[in-house]
């Protein structure tokens, strides 16, 4: 009776170990498939390159904006010059209003050297 049980127990243990082996083989350590990994890596690299390119564009934009700032300053200076010139010639024009005949004559003389 004991021998029969002994055999049965051994068979059960053997069966369990066999079953465990089958389960162990069917559940290996999870690894990402190579094609998925390659796809994700290539997309990550593509995005890295795009980010680098965007940084280069950012630096170009910053340089152009600095140039625009310089041009704006120059335009501002020209506007100021224009204002000064307008005021200068306005004053001269007002002075001409008060010229007498001799001053008008000297105006033309100095202008045309006769």
């Amino acid at each position: 009776m004991v021998k029969k049980n002994y055999k049965t127990v051994l068979i059960v243990i053997g069966s369990l170990l066999l079953l465990y082996g089958i389960v162990w083989i069917s559940t290996r350590k999870p690894q990402m498939p190579a094609d998925l990994k390659a796809t994700i890596d290539s997309l990550t690299n593509a995005n890295k390159q795009l980010i680098e390119h965007q940084k280069q564009i950012d630096s170009t934009i910053a340089a152009n904006e600095a140039e625009v700032h310089k041009v704006d300053l120059e335009i501002h200076n020209i506007k100021e010059k224009t204002t000064v010139i307008k005021e200068y010639y306005h004053e001269i024009s007002q002075q001409v209003d008060h010229y007498d005949a001799t001053q008008v004559d000297s105006f033309f003389k100095s202008r045309y050297n006769y």
Binding site: T27, I61, I75, I85, F108
Partner: protein
């Protein structure tokens, strides 16, 4: 007669000059002078305006360049978003696979417990019934 000729010759430039000279009223001369001053002012302003125009054209070119840079960046953002979406989809496939494997691992754990329990129970039984 000789003296008269000399006097006439010496007066000739004066006479000639008086023929080239015109007389205009002072008010008209003033008006002309004012218009000449205005003309000078306009010439100077015209030169500055030309300079300003050149600078403004430069500014427009630079602004165009800036705009095209921003457009390029926008296109790149769209590409990056597409790539991220593809990555997300690809990772979704992997997540599905991991879920399946997780289920298998849970089954494995159950079998490990059962096996260990059976083996330990069997060995204990054998030890005591020996």
């Amino acid at each position: 007669m000789k003296y008269i000729l000399i006097i006439l010759v010496s007066l000739l430039p004066v006479l000639a000059k008086s023929q080239d000279t015109i007389k205009i009223p002072t008010q008209v001369a003033k008006q002309i002078a004012k218009e000449l001053v205005s003309c000078d002012s306009l010439k100077a302003i015209h030169e500055l305006t030309k300079e300003q125009l050149t600078l403004t054209e430069q500014k427009v070119i630079l602004k165009d360049s800036i705009i095209s840079g921003h457009v390029q960046k926008g296109i790149m953002y769209e590409e990056r978003i597409k790539n991220e979406q593809l990555k997300f989809e690809t990772q979704g496939l992997w997540v599905d696979e991991l879920r399946k494997q997780n289920k298998r691992l849970k089954v494995k754990l159950v079998f490990t417990k059962i096996t260990l329990g059976g083996v330990i129970g069997g060995l204990t039984y054998l030890y005591f019934t020996k």
